[in-house]
């Protein structure tokens, strides 16, 4: 059943300090950005918050800044902004690709990278790319700023390292990925607009035929977007052989914990995760 509209209050904030004041007020104010997740809950009568402040009009949250060593993406930057940004396309193609996977064009015009992160779905399209790129999150509150590696941000299903008075402010990506061999693939029911059954992102480089700097992350196969450390450890420093690929397949299947649900089955998700990893590793040969 739909939510009762008069029961909800909403305001628009124009700057960060007003947003942080509302978060610190203890009056139950929560941020809303593009609304592509929260409004779905609202329309279904499942919105958990009754007081919302829009953060879409705060310019700093809508900007992408390229610094010599990192790119800083405001939390309310949309998927469309990410898709169209030439330097992100060039240096962070997995993120630009993930943005193109997310919903249809109308969803991409409103949905935000920060919203994708704090909605905390294990199936979030951007998460594997952010894990592979060693993203760091900046959280702001009236108490100050703190940074946390994205790989430590999700701690359980829909549980995050963010406090009630903190706002996800920026996503920072170090600019050292351009020389890596990068890969991502999403498997869903249909190419457009489907929520993933499995997704995988990976990057690495070969140094005298040995795998180095490998990072592998998977979506929809665990309670959180998963960085696959054990599989990375197995592969690091190794030369590519059929035997190594077979062991990597086994390792990643032991590392993930997929469920059977409305979108897919446990066995299928496990097998496809291994297949995607193999597809990447074969491309390195």
């Amino acid at each position: 059943m739909r939510s009762c509209v008069p029961d909800y209050d909403a305001v628009s904030t124009q700057d960060i300090s007003a947003a942080l004041d509302l978060l610190a007020s203890g009056e139950g104010w929560r941020p809303i950005a593009g609304g592509t997740d929260l409004m779905v809950l609202f329309n279904a009568g499942k919105m958990p918050y009754s007081r919302l402040f829009s953060i879409c009009s705060i310019p700093i949250l809508r900007s992408i800044e390229m610094l010599p060593n990192e790119v800083i993406i405001g939390a309310a930057v949309t998927y469309t902004q990410i898709r169209r940004h030439e330097l992100i396309q060039a240096e962070f193609p997995l993120l630009a690709t993930a943005a193109s996977w997310t919903g249809g064009i109308a969803n991409q015009n409103r949905g935000t990278l920060g919203g994708n992160i704090v909605n905390a779905s294990p199936a979030a399209d951007s998460s594997p790319a952010l894990l592979v790129y060693d993203a760091e999150l900046t959280l702001l509150s009236k108490r100050g700023e703190r940074r946390i590696p994205y790989r430590n941000f999700h701690i359980g299903y829909k549980q995050m390292q963010i406090l009630p008075d903190e706002l996800l402010y920026q996503i920072r990506l170090p600019r050292h990925s351009a020389k890596l061999v990068q890969y991502s693939r999403k498997v869903g029911t249909r190419r457009a607009q489907a929520i993933s059954k499995v997704s995988l992102a990976a990057a690495s480089r070969l140094e005298r035929a040995a795998i180095q700097d490998i990072r592998i992350a998977a979506g929809s196969v665990a309670p959180i977007p998963l960085r696959c450390y054990r599989t990375e450890q197995l592969l690091t420093g190794q030369s590519m052989t059929s035997d190594l690929i077979e062991r990597a397949r086994e390792t990643i299947r032991s590392e993930i914990s997929p469920l059977s649900d409305i979108r897919s089955a446990e066995d299928y998700r496990s097998l496809v995760t291994a297949n995607l990893l193999q597809e990447y590793l074969e491309s390195l040969r």
Binding site: I32, V40, I105
Partner: protein, 150 residues
């Protein structure tokens, strides 16, 4: 309730409403613009598509607060657009529920890609679902409109 101002189809307008009322409902109930349809109510089907400050959006996912002072174009605002002629000539509309959204998504696409490939048309309309046409004639209508506009 609060007063919200918008520019809708070129006309400055204001309504007294709730900040979380959906733009879809503001358009249909407060402004009497019934061309914008409700399909799924969760941003999947595109029936409620409008153009807001130049961007295609699903109006079922936009609270009034997020549309305040915005410039909005609905299907009523493009009644003489060549894309509508193309949909009629090619047979791109059957039952018509998806058509307003399809037209606006097509206009949004053509504004960025005046000569889209079939692949680009399919991607541009991927968020708009149609249960009648099988899409072939919709894609053909967009191709025809692109030709007539160039």
């Amino acid at each position: 309730m609060r007063r919200f101002s918008f520019t809708v189809n070129g006309k400055q307008t204001a309504v007294e409403t709730y900040p979380m009322k959906r733009l879809l409902d503001v358009l249909r109930e407060d402004l009497g613009l019934h061309g914008t349809k409700e399909g799924c109510g969760e941003g999947e089907c595109g029936a409620c598509s409008v153009i807001l400050d130049g961007d295609l959006v699903n109006s079922c996912l936009i609270p009034a607060i997020a549309a305040e002072n915005a410039t909005i174009c609905t299907i009523e605002g493009v009644s003489n657009h060549p894309i509508q002629d193309a949909f009629i000539e090619v047979g791109g509309a059957q039952c018509g529920i998806c058509t307003p959204g399809m037209i606006l998504a097509s206009i949004h696409l053509l504004s960025r890609e005046p000569h889209p490939t079939v692949e680009q048309i399919r991607e541009g309309l991927a968020g708009n679902l149609c249960r009648c046409t099988g899409y072939t004639k919709i894609v053909a209508a967009v191709e025809k409109a692109a030709q007539s506009l160039s």
